[in-house]
């Protein structure tokens, strides 16, 4: 896929020299805090030591042992908040560039064809398992199960596998090829990935229940919710905006004066694309202030360095049209009130404080619709209980329906949604499924 140069991967790969020098700098901590901080608990000092000793195959296997999607995570993880943020060298020096070293190991694994080792196949209990959704959680779970000898089919309604890695993370951070290659690697483990097939419609629930021993839902979240403001139909959906930038950047229409509504990861990504694709001015509009933004601090700082502007304490109320074209976003001024249910100060709209931010393109990135808001979603169709809008699961990721598991963003009732958390869900769920199927098999014997 052709990527506009302005959107090509932001950080270059480490050279052999850079990687070796950086790996040598690692202290090789014991029971290291970086490993603790990593949601998948990759043995980071171990894989870095192996880079230092030029055992790159061993390094990649160390990563795979804890995280099958190491190539994606190396690129998209908020390492400042996770491994690198916990590095013991961080307080007085510079933390080890763990993310980039992981990418180095994974790039080398791809180049030399190193694939994950089997996890120990339990003979005689291979089962048929359906995974719904080929995003990070689904691929992680499918791969983990295949490595344990199970017969896994992944159903993906989109044309390409990879979920948000393919469609939702800007190419600056993860090019499409990386996500696709990773999905192909998972296929190489014996997983069947059926793209363009919608589970529940192309494959009926009834048929699936008859055919598969276990069903794992990794369906993510829904579309960007409606703002419910006047002229909303003229607003561009942020997820679609990012998707287009990855799959067909040449056809993406970018305004000269772009306004992005929202202040999360996706909103920052949309603003970045607009700026990189040569918008003169990009303004992010958020109803609270800098300290309540849901994006990471490093993302905010990155946006500032890109020349993106911020308009805080503004509540969009309507799109201003002129001659059938977008001309601006009408907003009301906001003041911060008492903490609301999220613990953040509630935005209180100031009456009659209307003002207009000029724009010829408005993009919204204000989260995604949760499973309980999707009337036609699988959660409803399968009668799954929800919690705070997300599919409710046990500690083993089993839903209220026995034999049906759910992982990834669709269960993320607590904590920040991220790729690496999704990968860990997939891994933990696969272990739980394996344990349960083994126990059942033992009973039958």
């Amino acid at each position: 896929m052709e990527t506009d140069l302005a959107l090509s991967e932001q950080l270059p790969p480490l050279t052999v020299h850079e990687a070796t020098v950086e790996a040598d700098r690692c202290l090789y901590c014991y029971d290291a805090p970086c490993t603790h901080a990593c949601p998948t608990h990759i043995d980071i000092p171990k894989f870095i030591k192996k880079i230092a000793t030029r055992n790159l195959r061993g390094s990649a296997q160390t990563i795979y042992a804890a995280n099958l999607l190491g190539a994606t995570c190396a690129r998209v993880c908020p390492v400042q908040e996770l491994c690198e943020g916990a590095c013991v060298l961080g307080s007085e020096h510079k933390p080890i560039a763990i993310g980039r070293l992981q990418r180095y190991a994974m790039d080398s694994a791809k180049a030399s064809g190193v694939t994950p080792r089997a996890r120990g196949v339990a003979a005689g209990i291979a089962r048929k398992i359906a995974v719904v959704g080929a995003g990070p959680a689904g691929l992680s779970c499918a791969g983990e199960l295949a490595l344990r000898g199970h017969d896994v089919t992944v159903f993906e309604k989109r044309e390409l596998p990879g979920g948000l890695s393919t469609y939702g993370i800007i190419a600056l951070r993860e090019p499409v090829d990386v996500a696709i290659d990773e999905a192909r690697m998972i296929e190489g483990l014996g997983v069947k990935i059926r793209t363009g097939v919608e589970f529940g419609r192309d494959v009926t629930l009834e048929r699936a229940r008859g055919e598969f021993d276990t069903i794992v839902l990794s369906v993510g979240l829904g579309a960007t919710p409606a703002l419910g403001i006047e002229g909303e139909e003229a607003i561009v959906d942020g997820l679609a905006y990012i998707e287009m930038s990855k799959t067909d950047a040449a056809s993406l229409r970018v305004g000269r004066n772009v306004v992005v509504i929202g202040a999360g990861n996706t909103a920052i990504d949309c603003a970045t694309i607009a700026k990189r694709l040569r918008a003169d001015r990009v303004t992010m509009v958020y109803r609270r202030t800098v300290s309540e933004m849901t994006c990471y601090e490093h993302e905010y700082l990155f946006a500032l360095s890109e020349g993106i502007e911020f308009r805080f304490l503004a509540q969009p109320v309507g799109v201003v049209m002129k001659d059938g074209e977008v001309a601006g976003l009408e907003c009301l001024r906001v003041e911060l009130g008492k903490p609301d249910a999220t613990g953040r100060p509630a935005p209180v709209v100031v009456a009659e404080s209307e003002f207009v931010i000029e724009a010829d393109q408005i993009v919204k990135a204000v989260g995604q619709v949760k499973p309980n808001q999707e009337k036609t979603g699988l959660a409803a169709a399968m009668g799954l209980k929800t919690e705070k809008g997300y599919i409710a699961v046990s500690a083993d990721f089993e839903t209220s329906v026995a034999g049906v598991y759910a992982i990834g963003d669709c269960v993320r009732a607590r904590g920040a949604a991220s790729t690496v958390m999704a990968v860990q869900d997939g891994k933990v769920a696969a272990r739980a499924i394996e344990a349960k199927l083994s126990a059942v098999a033992a009973e039958v014997k």
């Binding site: 202290l27 901590c29 014991y30 029971d31 290291a32 901080a37 996770l82 943020g85 916990a86 013991v88």
Partner: protein, 460 residues
């Protein structure tokens, strides 16, 4: 300001630092530049028998990308001897205040040695160093370490030299020998004016895992070469101290020029403290150039000022009286490790070293004071806050610490772990004294057990 001048067996130089006989002292043009940079003297790269060299002469041992030692198969000077002699004379004329010493190595015949001594003296050089150390190539031809490894040869050749030499003669010793004292005593017996040590160590630096050839590879072959640089310093210090504490050698009072891994002024001060009165440097110069002389002098001078040493002679041999043997160590001396929690970065290298390979006396202590096991966190825990906030603190159980000092050595943080002297509550006693006064304790495990229990020695 401390006086760095030295008078070494009559050879004077403005500071104790000489280029060792090696590639940095290969030509007049180089030594001119070295003297301009401030070197006190130079031992000219060995002249003598005709030789030819090969490519890929140097291998290296590295820690990461940093070179810690060089191994080499370069021979003595391959430049025509007349050129060397002419340049030696020119350099000495241009630099009358610097020490110009010429290293020599010829066939083991009296007339060959008489001839080379005469020719060197004709240049006006300040001294001669006899190269009995070169461990490769020359040794195969009966020279270099082939001489240095046999005290009788050492003595014989030194006598031939001393028969004619009018300028000071330094005998350079090879470390490739079981007891360095033996060739030193031979040099003393032959009335040499001074000693120098160490030459390079026999070594093979590695094997290339791609080609399976030796490193360095010389047309498909390789072999042992001379090893030098920071990594050999402890070996050199030990041999230096062995000479300083040998009755015969120390009684003879020969000055010793110390070398072997000197890279910093701190190394230099240590060589002086253990008895060297001039210092030679090669590998560090090959790594960083002549410019390192500035800090060698500056650092040494500042340290001497701080310590109140007025001259180099005040420093020489100051620590020699502390060199002893295990049998004389105080068995009741007690030190324990203490971790400064304010400096500790909780890398746990001390913990794993102690727990796996020492005496299991470091615990990981959680915030609530309880001892926790490594990797005790929940599989669902993650994020930097959780990792940092719940990270336990390594702490030494001093009552169980044997004071092995391993944790101190592995700690990557400056001044974080300290070895603290604590009273042992036992009277001073050495193994020698035990052997003399309580012989049974040193020969019989039951007697040892009874003794330990009586005096309160707990073995972990």
């Amino acid at each position: 300001m401390a006086d760095l001048k030295i008078d070494f067996a009559g050879i004077k130089s403005p500071n104790p630092f000489w280029l060792a006989s090696a590639p940095p002292a290969n030509s007049g043009a180089q030594i001119h530049r070295a003297f301009e940079a401030g070197w006190g003297g130079a031992v000219w790269k060995t002249i003598g028998a005709p030789v030819l060299n090969v490519s890929n002469r140097y291998g290296a041992w590295r820690q990461g990308r940093r070179m810690m030692a060089i191994n080499n198969v370069e021979l003595i000077s391959d430049r025509p001897i007349e050129v060397n002699l002419r340049e030696i004379a020119e350099v000495k004329r241009a630099w009358p205040d610097r020490a110009v010493i010429v290293s020599a190595m010829v066939e083991s015949k009296p007339e060959a040695w008489h001839e080379i001594v005469r020719r060197i003296e004709d240049t006006g050089a300040d001294g001669i160093e006899l190269n009995y150390g070169c461990p490769h190539g020359m040794s195969e031809r009966g020279m270099g370490s082939a001489v240095g490894q046999v005290p009788e040869y050492c003595e014989q050749i030194t006598r031939w030299v001393m028969e004619t030499a009018k300028i000071p003669v330094i005998v350079k010793l090879t470390p490739n020998i079981t007891n360095i004292v033996m060739p030193a005593r031979a040099a003393v017996a032959a009335k040499a004016n001074a000693l120098s040590l160490i030459n390079t160590l026999n070594s093979i630096v590695g094997v290339d895992l791609e080609t399976l050839e030796l490193t360095p590879n010389i047309g498909g072959k390789g072999g042992h070469g001379g090893y030098a640089g920071q990594a050999v310093k402890p070996i050199a210090l030990n041999m230096l101290a062995a000479l300083g504490t040998d009755e015969v050698v120390s009684h003879a009072g020969l000055p010793i020029s110390g070398m072997g891994g000197i890279s910093t002024w701190e190394d230099a001060a240590q060589f002086l403290l253990l008895g060297a009165s001039s210092l030679q440097v090669c590998t560090a110069v090959m790594h960083y150039g002549y410019r390192i002389i500035e800090d060698l002098c500056d650092g040494l001078s500042n340290w001497m000022d701080e310590k109140g040493f007025a001259s180099v002679a005040d420093v020489v041999g100051r620590s020699l009286h502390r060199v002893s043997e295990f049998k004389n160590f105080d068995l009741s001396f007690r030190a324990v490790a203490r971790i400064d929690e304010a400096k500790c970065i909780q890398c746990n290298l001390c913990y794993v070293a102690c727990n796996d390979t020492a005496h299991q006396c470091i615990d990981l202590i959680a915030a609530n004071g309880s001892v926790v096991q490594p990797y005790a966190y929940d599989v669902r825990a993650n994020g930097k806050e959780d990792a940092i906030e719940t990270r336990p603190q390594p702490k030494v159980r001093e009552e169980d610490c044997v004071g092995c000092r391993l944790c101190y050595n592995v700690c990557p943080v400056e001044e974080c772990i300290e070895m603290v002297e604590l009273p042992s509550g036992r009277e001073t006693v050495t193994w020698q004294e035990l052997t003399e006064k309580r012989t049974k304790v040193t020969e019989d495990w039951d007697a040892m057990k009874e003794y330990r229990e009586r005096v309160g020695i707990h073995i972990h």
